[in-house]
Symmetry: C2
Subunit: 294 residues, 2 copies
Amino acid sequence: MDIRSAQLFLHLASSLNFAKTSEQMFVSPSTLTRVIQRLEEELGTLLFNRDKRSVLLTKEGVRVQQFVRLWLDEWHQLQLDLQLASAELTGEIRLFCTVTASYSHLPAILDKFRLQCPKAEIKLTTGDAAMAFEKIKAGDVDIALAAYPAHLPANMIFQRIAQLPVWLIAPVIPCKVNDLLSAAPINWNDIPLVQSDHGPARSRSDKWLADCNIRPEVAVKVDGHEAMVSMVALGSGVAVVPEPVINHSPVRDRVRILDISYPFQPFELGVCMLGKKLEQPLLQAFWQLAAAKK
Amino acid sequence: MDIRSAQLFLHLASSLNFAKTSEQMFVSPSTLTRVIQRLEEELGTLLFNRDKRSVLLTKEGVRVQQFVRLWLDEWHQLQLDLQLASAELTGEIRLFCTVTASYSHLPAILDKFRLQCPKAEIKLTTGDAAMAFEKIKAGDVDIALAAYPAHLPANMIFQRIAQLPVWLIAPVIPCKVNDLLSAAPINWNDIPLVQSDHGPARSRSDKWLADCNIRPEVAVKVDGHEAMVSMVALGSGVAVVPEPVINHSPVRDRVRILDISYPFQPFELGVCMLGKKLEQPLLQAFWQLAAAKK
DNA sequence: ACCTTAATTGCATAAAGTGAAATACTGAGT
DNA sequence: ACTCAGTATTTCACTTTATGCAATTAAGGT
């Protein structure tokens, strides 16, 4: 007996209709059937009389319904109590975030955090990925949202939130780059590459070039992922960038993902801070919450 | 949150020692760690402070402990209530059981049943597998413990309890049979086969002979699995029998299992009765209980 | 008879739980 | 300072379980 089974049982006990419950609780009919069967087996008794054409609670079912109602109520109360403990937390969190990271995952985390700790303040700094760990080390910020670095300093803790796929992109418009890309086989050495000065996307692009033994003819260098997408869109070359940067770019319709079957290592996006800061209640709450799935 | 996690949490909350709890609750340390981590993630809060060298409940942990205590108490009460409902059942169950089936699984089922329905009476008949379904059909017995037959009558219901592997056995003592078995390749046509007159073991042995195109030289015929094992032990030949029959035989040390890599179809041992008899409360209780895992 | 609705089951696949062993960390005892 | 022992956690390989799709069964309505 777990929370989910209990909820399904309770809904079914009211609806007395497998199809309706399975639809409204977003599970397939077969799953619902099996959940109920498991419950019945666990309790060693029939909970529903599936007579011809109708579903009815048995008297044991009524007893279980009573138990489950009580239990779920207490469960909700427990969750409220636990949230209240952190709802009173006050203070300030200094948060650093790469522009890349801020695209896809920061809003969701901040929403959850504001809900749970409404009295806390957040000071957000954005900047380049390479700065994240320096700023933590220097004490300029408490916590950072960034990609997992090549080497994590020993006193820092990191917690993965998501994997971001990395793609090679090219312009959509007709241009010299596309002329070169339509050749077969493609001579990668002639194709200009848009690179950033440093950071995890740069290391992935370097690894690709090394693995495939490519020396690109012209290497345009820009600063930051966003500018790279724009340069590619204008026809300056191809580039290696993480997926969310593409999707959130204003020029996303003017670039396309090239299907070279090369496995770029995905970004490990996560939160990072000094280990000893876990002792601060507000930061601990943030840390916990970043780990939670929903 | 399910029953098992709750029990583990509660034990750990008292012992405050992962190693001790994992040992006493019969799970590996890694499992316990994970269960607690899952709970903490589900509740979005730290339950234990694992400071250097010691484990302590957090104040959230204390609140959860309080919840879990209450919940498990109610859970036990629920189980008691549900059992009481059937504890008052009286009446008689006429049970048929093949000797094979009675070996391994009947005692466990009867123990559970006596515990749950102490006022009920059981009349047990043992006999050959082939009789089981006739006796049910004739109304001589209510319910039978037997192997799944080739054809189950339409108005009967069957519920699997276990799969019993089937093996080919040979004598241990030096004898003519063992002389023949030590030849390579083995000439199966010369090796005498001990067969029963009928029943599911017979059909498996027949299938094996047919599949491998064997016509055994001498076919000793006996009645019942137990006698077959004895005949094999005495050196009369080889035989095809289900595993529990071997393990429970008084001469089990005088026979050995031959590793011919032929996949005998295992017995599907289960309970069987007329579908409409499920309406009788006592039989329904027996049926439910036979299905339960523990 | 045939069609419709509702629950269940078979099957293939995806997800999770699990334990043995390796790891990381700490404090105590030379 | 170094090893040793105790403790929690992580890794890895494996098994078990859960899930949804599609097929099946069963009863009622037309």
